[in-house]
Amino acid sequence: MFRNNYDNDSVTFSPQGRIFQVEYAQEAVKQGSVVVGIVSKTHAVLAALKRNAEELSSYQQKIIPIDAHYGLALAGLASDARVLSNFMKQQSLASRLTYDRPIALADITARIGDRAQTNTQQYGKRPYGVGLLIAGVDARGPHLFEFQPSGVTQEMVACGIGARSQMARTYLERHLESFESSSRDELIKHALRAVKESLSQDKELTLDNTSLAVSGVDEPFKLYEGEEVVNFLETTFERREEGDEGQAAGEGMEVDS
């Protein structure tokens, strides 16, 4: 009855000046599970919550290492992210072959930005339904870039995208000042805590559903999953859980008396 006439393709503006296909694609990003990225003066960290379609299935990959110096975290359609990441891998390799240098993060981000934008401008094409956080270290230091289906790219100090990511962003905004001078370990803790903020009540970060990636000046991009994240999870949440328990016990005593 009130069918939207302006969302059939990505080349038609609505009378309000909107392109609905692009906005729908941005909704796809919000359906994906949360990913968080932070940079300090020396490191760039990505943390992600992995989802499994069902109890018996494996978990969807959320962080893709691209080159020795950087990688990305995705929220949205994983298959679109794979297309983009394959393109990024090719471009990164081309840079190493023709110039013998690791590609600049600003460069590669601009390239996928351009690619995504042309998809919003050609009839018969659709925007990519995925948001990316691209993090790593290049000749000009650590960087974090956010990529959106519209082709918009921005450099960020910290960023969270995906389902319920507002909670993560609130956490990040609260601790914004401390990121720049954070150590590697502190940065990892912040990233994991930000992800935890976005979790629904019945969920918890475990070795199965947590992905973490770190890169730093003179430290290649490395993805930590499974057993390798156990240590990070323990050191990050140990103190908080103790605190929570202590508080709970205290409250219990008060109720008793």
Binding site: Y99, R101, A104, A110, D138, A139, R140
Partner: protein
């Protein structure tokens, strides 16, 4: 022996039949029925380029002459081309191919500045280094030789690598790369390289060499090249690349020449022994 240069290096007609031009692209199918070959030999040429690495940079020099065969045709051709603040490329060989490469490097520089051009210390670190440039040029040269359309040059690429250490390497028309503390192309490889190696026998010696000594060695070599290379002239360009950037002088004159040795030379030319 067959006296037609056209036939040299080709399968003999009397054995293999004449060349079949059928598959040549239209643009190449001329009356001769042979592939285009004018891009496969140099026309206007520059002679040697020489360079030395010293403890905090590189010195490079080449004279300003472009010869048309043995004719000293152009005397104001600058064969050292600076690239951003970190590198200089010295061109030997065909001058038109040098001009093509120069335009290529200019467009590369524009592209580089467009994508991350800020004029601050932080951005200087991300500038394309001499090493990056050398890798790029080696791929260009190798691609062109693989197309059977080589750029008829011998290049020296010098400057600083990403970590700020002096860098010097060569590429030739085949895409062959080579690196050493001292390098010379063309006739210089025979006349100047031995002199430079006496000053800088190895990497360690180059780390101990100061700028003045390096410049003096290069100037001495330019003089020897002018004495003995018949395609050279007494005006040359010399550049020093170090942390402070590129210092390029394009109108240097040879100093302190002494042709006394020439009287001793006998056995050719107009004299009768």
């Amino acid at each position: 022996m067959n006296h037609f240069p056209e036939a040299w290096g080709r399968p003999r007609d009397d054995i293999y039949g004449s060349y079949n031009p059928q598959f040549l692209p239209n643009s190449h199918a001329q009356q001769s029925g042979h592939p285009t070959t004018h891009t496969q030999s140099p026309i206007v040429t520059g002679t040697s380029v020489i360079a030395v690495k010293y403890k905090d940079g590189v010195v490079i020099a080449a004279d300003n002459l472009a010869s048309y065969g043995s004719l000293a045709r152009f005397t104001d051709v600058h064969r050292l081309k600076p690239f951003n603040k970190k590198a200089v490329v010295g061109f030997g060989g065909d001058v038109s191919d040098m001009q093509y490469l120069d335009r290529l490097l200019n467009s590369l520089d524009v592209k580089e500045n467009y994508s991350h051009g800020h004029d601050d210390a932080e951005s200087d670190k991300a500038l394309m280094s001499a090493k990056n440039l050398h890798t790029y040029l080696s791929k260009v040269m190798y691609k062109r030789r693989s197309d059977f359309n080589p750029l008829w040059n011998a290049l020296l690429v010098c400057g600083l690598s990403e970590d700020g250490t002096p860098f010097l390497a060569s590429v030739d028309l085949l895409g062959t790369t080579f690196s050493a503390p001292t390098l010379a192309t063309g006739f210089g490889a025979h006349l100047a390289q031995p002199i430079l190696r006496r000053v800088v026998p190895d990497e360690a010696a180059s780390k101990a060499l100061d700028k003045e000594a390096a410049v003096a060695a290069v100037k001495e070599c330019m003089k020897v090249l002018f004495y003995r290379d018949a395609r050279s002239m007494n005006e040359y360009s010399i550049a020093v690349v170090d942390k402070s950037g590129v210092d390029l002088k394009q109108k240097e004159k040879l100093e302190g020449q002494s042709w006394a040795f020439a009287e001793q030379i006998k056995g050719y030319g107009t004299q009768t022994v």
